[in-house]
């Protein structure tokens, strides 16, 4: 049995390791479209501030980790075509490769908005190690940097750029920062926090063009209102799109990404998908969506590998969740953080302390939450959501004091001493 995995991010690497474990006799080949060893895009912000070197971004640290585990890693191996009938891939350069089971873990790539000037020198995305190298060379202390987009990825880069002591301006089209993770109140607090740290933030503002600048700064960012912003570097982080083009004509059903069933199978026999490219089951909604977050990628990789190896395992769905650090203000969101019809909620809002916690309930079950300034025991929110613990009288206690999530969990699950089976 030959398992071929396309994409060497977290989903691909986790899948490769589990395939090795579940199906020791098989061949496992991991294809990476980039020249580097498998690395984590999540770690790039820490590379940008020199907290780690490039090796620090590698998903596995032992130099011979993959080789000693019998996983063949092929770098610079770009898949051009898939022929499901012949169970063959065509790589860039024309090489053909057979497979018995194929895992698509091709992730996503940054969207380039249709704005004039995106092709100018000094306009970059921040996605790959190569992007990071270019940004490091330009984002010198004092450099004028304009960041287009204040979503999750934009905000992660924001911190690095600010810590590099650049003069940073952030432009977000929507009315608040991290609009897909935080509500108006929390997004507003993040904006005020960033401004207090010296970052200029324009929300509800569109970039109309990136023009040539004057002599002092090579670029000039034209906004839909207000003065143009001079820039030495423009970073584009307006969203991503799934890498699926090479699947044209294969019959693999696509929507936001590759549609997969509860076994992470695509619509075509022998082809599976995992991670940011996969549109898998959402635990909270029961619908299929692209999460594009690390924990979901790890879940997908593990379960896809199990099914590819013939160990049938049904996926219960991932809770969408995220955690973000904007210049020391830590935010997180879980599940249906925006609430549900017929549900109710409790909110703790202490704007002077930049603290916010909103819990969303359906009946007496926690279904979502968002938090600012909360770092202690925050994971238990996932536990409460994913184990669908009935809160009973603890719902009222949480409405009095939403910070008592850990107590609610302990009181309602008898988790003590044997909590490992709560999610099984």
């Amino acid at each position: 049995m030959k398992h071929v995995i396309v994409g060497a991010g977290p989903a691909g690497v986790v899948a490769a390791e589990h395939l090795r474990k579940y199906d020791p006799q098989s061949d496992v080949v991991l294809l990476s479209g980039e020249p580097e060893p498998p690395y984590s895009r999540m770690a790039i912000p820490y590379l940008l501030i020199d907290q780690i070197g490039e090796e620090g971004t590698y998903l596995r640290k032992g130099q011979d980790h993959f080789q000693s585990n019998g996983i063949e890693v092929r770098t610079d191996a770009w898949v051009e075509k898939v022929d499901p009938g012949a169970r063959q891939l065509e790589l860039r350069g024309g090489e053909r490769m057979d497979y018995d089971r194929l895992l698509l873990a091709t992730g996503a790539r940054p969207l380039i908005p249709p704005i004039p000037g995106m092709d100018r020198d000094g306009v970059h995305t921040c996605w790959t190690l190569e992007d990071a190298r270019r940004i490091v060379s330009r984002a010198e202390p004092g450099a004028h940097v304009v960041l287009i987009g204040a979503g999750f990825i934009g905000c992660i880069i924001l911190e690095s750029l600010a810590l590099r002591k650049t003069r940073l301006t952030v432009v977000e089209q929507q009315n608040r920062m991290v609009p897909r993770m935080m509500d108006d109140t929390a997004g507003g607090l993040i904006k005020r926090w960033c401004e207090s740290k010296g970052v200029t933030v324009h929300t509800s503002t569109k970039v109309e063009a990136v023009d040539a600048g004057n002599g002092e700064h090579p670029l000039s960012v034209k906004l839909d209102h207000g003065d143009p912003v001079p820039a030495d570097l423009v970073i584009v982080a307006v969203g991503v799109q799934s890498n699926t083009e090479f699947l044209d004509g294969t019959g693999v059903k696509l929507d936001q990404g590759v549609l997969v069933d509860r076994h992470l199978r695509s619509s075509v026999d022998g082809i599976y998908a995992a991670g940011d490219v996969a549109q898998g089951l959402d635990f909270s909604t029961g619908e299929f969506s692209v999460h594009a977050v690390q924990p979901t990628a790890a879940d997908h990789g593990r379960i896809a590998a199990s099914n590819m190896a013939g160990r049938t395992q049904q996926f219960r769905g991932s809770v969408n969740m995220n955690v973000l650090d904007t210049l020391g203000l830590i935010s997180s969101s879980f599940g249906l953080w925006m609430g549900v019809d017929g549900g109710d909620s409790v909110e703790l809002h202490e704007p002077d302390r930049f603290r916010y916690l909103k819990l969303q309930f359906q009946d007496d079950v926690l279904v979502g939450a968002s938090a600012l300034g909360l770092t202690e025991h925050v994971g238990v929110i996932r536990g409460l959501i994913q184990s669908r613990v009935r809160l009973g009288g603890w719902k009222e206690k949480l409405k009095d004091d939403p910070t008592r999530i850990m107590e609610a969990y302990l009181a309602r699950t008898q988790a003590i001493g044997h909590n490992a089976s709560v999610l099984s």
Partner: protein, 177 residues
């Protein structure tokens, strides 16, 4: 045989010696805010519950780590954070469904229980036997339930464990006072 921390909230008096010992062992200062084990208080019921990582097999934290900064200590089974590798991204803190991996702003890293390398100070410091370090099999759910059913004041056997209160079974002769 791997050993594990066994937590018996019914024996806990809320003295916080475990938090003192843990923080001292791990940071060199008595500072419960930096303890890896926490005692939760239930004032209305007059109860306390010590709680920390149980080194679960699923190891959600470890699988979610993007830089392989959480690894299994083969001697103890503990999932340990490698401080020099951790970048402080906090993904493990949301991935752990038990809430036992915490971010520490001072160091910019996450912290969790590492069983003190196989000699956990919380257990040594606990004066009432609410925290003991025993064979891992002894902390199992089935074992606890069977004990519960033998004890005179235990609830009758049932398919699902009761979910009204923290675990409060009387474990006769199981260490402590």
């Amino acid at each position: 045989m791997l050993k594990a921390l066994k937590l018996e909230p019914e024996k806990c008096t809320g003295c916080l010696q475990c938090e003192m010992a843990c923080s001292y062992e791990n940071t060199g200062a008595f500072n419960p805010a930096k303890s890896r084990i926490k005692v939760f208080t239930f004032h209305e019921e007059g109860r306390f519950a010590p709680y920390t990582c149980t080194q679960c097999d699923e190891a959600w934290c470890m699988h979610a780590c993007p830089v392989e900064a959480i690894v299994v200590d083969m001697a103890t089974g503990a999932k340990n954070v490698l401080e020099d590798v951790c970048v402080g991204c906090k993904v493990c803190t949301i991935a752990c469904p038990f809430g036992t991996v915490n971010y520490e702003a001072d160091s910019g890293k996450v912290i969790k229980c590492d069983l003190c390398g196989g000699d956990p100070w919380c257990a040594k410091a606990c004066p009432t036997g609410a925290i003991t370090y025993v064979d891992a099999s002894e902390t199992g759910m089935e074992r606890m339930r069977s004990w519960a059913q033998q004890s005179p004041d235990a609830a009758p056997p049932r398919t699902n464990p009761p979910r009204e209160k923290p675990l409060n079974v009387y474990l006769s002769g199981q260490g402590g006072m």
